[in-house]
Symmetry: D2
Subunit: 409 residues, 4 copies
Amino acid sequence: MSKGTVVLAYSGGLDTSCILVWLKEQGYDVIAYLANIGQDEDFEAARKKAESLGAKKIFIEDLRKEFVEDFIWPSVQANAVYEDRYLMGTAIARPCIARRQVEIARKEGAQFVSHGATGKGNDQIRFELTCYALYPEVKIIAPWRIPEFYNRFRGRKDLMEYAQKFGIPVPVTPKAPWSMDANLMHISQTIVLSISQAPPDLYLMTKNPADSPNEPDVLEMEFRNGVPIKVTNETNGISKNAPLEIFSYLNEIGGKHGVGRIDIVENRFIGMKSRGIYETPGGTILLKAHLDIETFTMDKEVRRIKQGLGIKFSELVYNGFWYSPECDFVRHCIAKSQENVEGKVQLSVFKGQVYILGRESPKSLYNEELVSMDVQGDYDPCDASGFIRINAVRLREHHRLQGFSGKKQ
Amino acid sequence: MSKGTVVLAYSGGLDTSCILVWLKEQGYDVIAYLANIGQDEDFEAARKKAESLGAKKIFIEDLRKEFVEDFIWPSVQANAVYEDRYLMGTAIARPCIARRQVEIARKEGAQFVSHGATGKGNDQIRFELTCYALYPEVKIIAPWRIPEFYNRFRGRKDLMEYAQKFGIPVPVTPKAPWSMDANLMHISQTIVLSISQAPPDLYLMTKNPADSPNEPDVLEMEFRNGVPIKVTNETNGISKNAPLEIFSYLNEIGGKHGVGRIDIVENRFIGMKSRGIYETPGGTILLKAHLDIETFTMDKEVRRIKQGLGIKFSELVYNGFWYSPECDFVRHCIAKSQENVEGKVQLSVFKGQVYILGRESPKSLYNEELVSMDVQGDYDPCDASGFIRINAVRLREHHRLQGFSGKKQ
Amino acid sequence: MSKGTVVLAYSGGLDTSCILVWLKEQGYDVIAYLANIGQDEDFEAARKKAESLGAKKIFIEDLRKEFVEDFIWPSVQANAVYEDRYLMGTAIARPCIARRQVEIARKEGAQFVSHGATGKGNDQIRFELTCYALYPEVKIIAPWRIPEFYNRFRGRKDLMEYAQKFGIPVPVTPKAPWSMDANLMHISQTIVLSISQAPPDLYLMTKNPADSPNEPDVLEMEFRNGVPIKVTNETNGISKNAPLEIFSYLNEIGGKHGVGRIDIVENRFIGMKSRGIYETPGGTILLKAHLDIETFTMDKEVRRIKQGLGIKFSELVYNGFWYSPECDFVRHCIAKSQENVEGKVQLSVFKGQVYILGRESPKSLYNEELVSMDVQGDYDPCDASGFIRINAVRLREHHRLQGFSGKKQ
Amino acid sequence: MSKGTVVLAYSGGLDTSCILVWLKEQGYDVIAYLANIGQDEDFEAARKKAESLGAKKIFIEDLRKEFVEDFIWPSVQANAVYEDRYLMGTAIARPCIARRQVEIARKEGAQFVSHGATGKGNDQIRFELTCYALYPEVKIIAPWRIPEFYNRFRGRKDLMEYAQKFGIPVPVTPKAPWSMDANLMHISQTIVLSISQAPPDLYLMTKNPADSPNEPDVLEMEFRNGVPIKVTNETNGISKNAPLEIFSYLNEIGGKHGVGRIDIVENRFIGMKSRGIYETPGGTILLKAHLDIETFTMDKEVRRIKQGLGIKFSELVYNGFWYSPECDFVRHCIAKSQENVEGKVQLSVFKGQVYILGRESPKSLYNEELVSMDVQGDYDPCDASGFIRINAVRLREHHRLQGFSGKKQ
């Protein structure tokens, strides 16, 4: 007699394979669900593995297109960066994966979903908040937070033994002392602080800038509504205009030139600091290009307000609230701000860097005559005197009352 | 009969030389004041020139140390960046220069100050708000906003003719079609948009990354109270620990590796967009290093609040409000936030990039045991279930009421 | 030979009557434009007066309906309050008046607009920014900032003499030592600080609470999309459902009970502090009712973001930026946030106060079962333990590192 | 054999009396701790009751003075209001109570603390975050979140039976269908929405405004550093200048005139909405008076930044983070902003309202000459033209590009 059906976010790796078997052991029917969001994976091998482990059904879903269009694009519009540095490749993938997981659970009549995320990380939160938001009645099985599970599997050795016992194929290579997450947007590796410097072979998605080409690639990125609609490599004429192809091509170019590597300590939602090594080649190019076209075409005061909303968006997404009323609201506002973010940015990608070379736009608010020092145009310099003096009213009053007299501060 | 004494911010160049003579022509006694804030200048030649033009007195003031300690350091603490990109090398120099100008004016009993900033830019505002804030009764003479002046000098040719007539030495090289500002922190060049790509010879402070060394310099930066107290080059053991020397050395290393070049369109305070090419080698290294040690040692919620204050600080400083009650207040708050920002950052400077390699701190909030996936420590994974479920209360209620059912958004 | 046509915002009072004549004296054709935004005015008398003074054309425009719908309603949605207290009855009227003035100017081919606002106040800015935003080529004549005008009219006596000379009817009552602005939303009076207490007869729109009825009026306000669609007086059954009628009725009830009087010092945009006495009876009732229904129906995190946008909106509007890209943007976002702000609020109006009695809504996020202490419902109290412990992770780490031990702070 | 010692926050009521006995039943030594924060309570009777129930030790602590000075005063400086309405009388009392509880626990060597707060409310969080922050190793026993406890005591009837069985004195009056919290600052009652209107006898701290005196009390409040240092009743000359006496007197006057009653729906930290009836007589007077003197003496741009910090402070305090690094930081910044908040406010308290009558300050930034319409002073009205035209640069550019032409929005 089954306890019910559970849709497991299955990766094909050791952990979720053990979880699959363990869930069956606990009396559940298990549907294995494997999302293709661009990670390097042999999906057919994973399917066979899940079958052999007794999954009742297997869903392998290609989510790459919707990952780019529904998750990466809004993040580009927002200039989404967490704590000034992290581009959140993992944080935006989780709601994408969980959204489909919930769809499958509903369709298959499963009351349970499960995942292999640990009990100390952000991903458990991102997965589960998405599930609760989209399927409030769902029951979530998070084995790494269930004492019977985590006390049984205290280390990798326990998993290996369990795998051998239940015929789960075990990886032949020893596991790196860090955990990895890979998708179309980035590869993330969580390493401990005491490893003083990230080993060079840790990087998988980007070339070492020291070994990258000595010639730049020069790209022209075209934007409309704040998202890229075309990228052209000016060096060789290659051009892409479908979202997934644009993003993949930016990954290719960024990866080739070693763009988007960072080693940071960040603050997890649950209040601990952790160290992450991230490679986000295409995302980094896009961030720089979008920032440029946005500042070029957007009114400065709109920009200030939108900058604040972008920071809010980043916090929400990092913390797992992609599907929340406030994130819906912020996304709506940000999208509104992007209506005139349109035009072309020329940039060069070289040795780990992205250099903006120029930009043009039919919606530009740049006015060469207005800004020129040689042409007066419809601008009276005398106005600036009044502007300054009025701005100084308050400062002069303040000085008068405080009675400070040029003393250094 | 003199109209009074004016302290002129004198650069030694054609514009302010003409202004010096013109002010005399108008009946003022002119004190020439030339601030050394690290620009490449022959100060003795400038002194002689000012003398020969009839300056009543000449002050050449070495402000480099106070520029670093009183202006660059607080900006480092703030992670001061305007519109996500510009490090404000010019914006923070202006109050430094004007502060001394006002001190001289007070000491010399001058009721007037003057400068050569144009009527369309930010610098006139930064100069004058500082003057009004510190010397409220001062009268400001801004020739480029006075019709008799700007109608007389409609272009460089008029200045050249005036110079020849009054024996002002004229530059032999033709002026570049852009205006430049240089100091210890950066070189800024304002070019028009229609120049599609900045010419390579425009860069003066940084090497072209393509021509920069093929070996990185690896530095260790030590911070206390959010400012650097020591930099050591791990490659050759060179070490600096006085503020001006630290900053100069970072400029040297950053310049050598082509760090800190940007080409941006920004929004001036007066509401027009302008294009600027900036080179900020040392400042860029410092920004990255400070961001790293700050995130490492600062509580995440303090960081969020401080991030907002830093953005506010940047707007205030860009707009010329360094000396204002609100900027005093924000600086005080930011300084308070830096009390534990202490420790060492290792970084590599290479081909235009700064790579953080690692960090350590006696004040670190990183807890390896807490974050470890293998050690449970004083952390119960089950707590995360409650945390997530409580966070989901609101999301589930929202769903229930909105009645949406997993539909894509 | 005319210098051109000017549309003058004409009030019928002494100042703008003198300005009308003075503009003619200067050689302009003058179109008198008088906006009816609910002030107590004999419009036909004003028309005759303008005619007699030589206005080329006269427009008397009833803007009350659009004032309520286009300006007051968005302010209600925003909970617009400047500096925590001022409901901005004047600030939102200015763009309404100037918008029509510009329409008339365009239609009549007038290149000039003029107004009688002083050179130290906010209103000049609000008028003119609206004019420039909607009619960028317009030329503005602000006599109180023109030396020939303000040097000629140094006090009320000069205006009276000028009036007598040019046959302008002069008011028989002496002018109060404060300036007044009245419209449908409020009456504002600017008085100097040294008048220690506002004289009782200064209030015109609201009864003294000491003399107000000893029985409350109990109202039910119905909202949709964050604006009132109906008000019903539960005491007598009177009901209104057109915007202008709703607002006028709230003014009547609020005025009868002495609601909405404040005496404040506020900060003008130009940086000086001024003292204002305001009466905003209907607006105050609406603010309280809207706050209540909004908090009742809006997600709490959306509310936080919207609160920030509302503060921004208030600053923009106070400073005269109603017609600006950023205010458009903020209004759009706020309107979006109001989609579910729907339901009924019961309130009592009594002796200067508004008491919320209750509320109901089909969109309420209040869940009696969820919040009940007696019913557990779909809520596990144990979850709260995890929630609290995870929230404490950071606090405990902080304590550990700071080493403080219960010492008082 | 004891399981250890627990310090129980004891109220003397039925719930915590049962908890005291139940904890003993579970094998703990119980120290009863009763904080006097101004609630109406017979503390000696409570002491005897606790003794009779077997408390090992009893601490009755008069915290009123520190509650005012350490908790209410900083909230006054912050203008602390949650969600625009709630003055947080309960939220600021919790850290005050828990701080002493932790001190006692440390002093008595108790590893446990306990409280009677429910599992759905904010107070459990406020108590426990304070405990964890100040005593990270503490173990918390929250019976209302322990299944053995809450399943045993499913309603008041179960508690009554338990009380009778264990000789706990039971209250003779039936419990109101709402829960109450009372202290020096306010009385809070949580009632359900379906009670359409709060019953009149629910209010305990304030008179019904309908029955309040027909004559106002006129007070003069004197502030220094943003906190009151003296209150004088101008009607009868009564004057107070010690913090606790000032606050108690404001409660008396506010209560007498029915000030500070609100009926709101608010958002709890855990994401549910709840309805509260609050009476905060003295706090409401103080908020209004402080707002007034603050705006009068503080620079407007400092005020804007401080307003944002005050909102942040309110959220933190409401959510239980009084003792957190970020709240420490925000409190420090706010205190800094109050250095010049000094002077006197005259106000009238009448029929539920507080009317500001006037204010004066040696630190005032109000300048009667500057603001006067009759005196020009050191202000050139022409400057305003330049100020406006520069502010319009951006708006006119925007219009030019958007090509809208006076069309209504």
